[in-house]
């Protein structure tokens, strides 16, 4: 199983995500630079990591979303590859149109950096299959622009189609309907503000994130 992690100037969670992918898949992911126009052949799992791509210039994720590699990511998503965008990666996926809505400045105006309580809303997706529906978990967050926004019709559609994968179980950033992570309509693209890759080993103090990566690998194996 081949995975890749996209690296933008200013990405800073790319290596953490690579460690999580390697632990789950048993193979080192390809690290793909933002100027590349193609992904290596046969990639089934793509990570769009956290960080501050392009210094958050213009809007968080705006420049990264228009970089050459994102067209290759969009094509891979279309043919069914799994795409996981975390934090800045979520912002990149909304800016590129792979996921609906936008991420605004946190309602409180502050950068929020702490562990938060989350509820797994949809445990049917490839990303969440190792969790139980309604399960309470904790992942760390570290962001300034995590306040999810979409119009009411879009929010209703996301809820109705089970595309809200994760919800905050406490007040974090003012997100519409406490949304922490959403799926695309085909269910193979997930964007989320919290960081599962930061809680995968006992040395991290918690391992709630580990099952997300394990579930993804199982989903890919089942499909192969």
């Amino acid at each position: 199983m081949k995975s890749a992690v996209i690296v933008f100037p200013g990405s800073n969670c790319d290596r953490d995500l690579a460690v999580a992918f390697e632990a789950a898949t048993g193979q080192k992911p390809a690290m793909v630079w933002h100027r590349d126009t193609d992904l290596p052949d046969g990639i089934d799992l793509i990570g769009v990591p956290g960080g501050f791509s392009y210094g958050d210039y213009l809007r968080s994720g705006a420049m990264a979303a228009r970089s050459p590699v994102m067209q290759a990511v969009a094509k891979a998503a279309e043919r069914g590859a799994f795409v996981l965008g975390i934090c800045n990666g979520f912002q990149v996926l909304t800016e590129s149109g792979l996921l609906p809505g936008a991420l605004l400045r946190n309602a409180g105006g502050h950068f929020v950096c702490r562990d938060v309580a989350l509820t797994v809303e949809n445990a049917q997706s490839a990303f969440t299959s190792r969790y139980a529906a309604g399960e309470a978990i904790r992942y760390p967050v570290a962001h300034h622009d995590g306040n999810y926004f979409a119009d009411d019709a879009t929010l209703d559609r996301l809820e109705g189609e089970g595309r809200v994968a994760l919800r905050y179980a406490e007040s974090v950033n003012g997100s519409a309907r406490n949304i922490a992570g959403i799926l695309n309509d085909a269910g193979n693209v997930l964007g989320m503000m919290p960081h599962p890759e930061r809680v995968i080993e006992p040395a991290h103090g918690a391992t709630d994130g580990k099952r997300l990566f394990q579930g993804l690998v199982e989903g890919l194996m089942a499909r192969a």
Partner: protein
């Protein structure tokens, strides 16, 4: 030719920056400020034959995120 692009948050989109500015104005003793909304001004220096359609496309494809922002183009001779 120059063009100024004014990018503003749509009505109903929360603006924590505007709220912080409002709070600071209050702190300076300026009463009577009902609301503050912050936006961006982007100045483009363009080839004279740049079409209006191209300027509009620049706004839609990059300069503004039309999910949350409106834009207005002002051409300067």
């Amino acid at each position: 030719m120059k063009a100024r692009i004014f990018v503003t948050l749509k009505g109903g989109v929360l603006d924590p920056q505007g709220r912080a500015i409002h709070h600071a104005l209050d702190g300076l003793g300026f009463g009577g400020v009902n609301d503050v909304r912050a936006g961006k001004l982007i100045e483009l220096d363009l080839a004279d034959d740049t079409s209006d359609e191209d300027i509009d496309a620049m706004c839609r494809k990059l300069l503004a995120n039309t999910v949350i922002e409106n834009y207005r183009i002002e051409k300067v001779a």
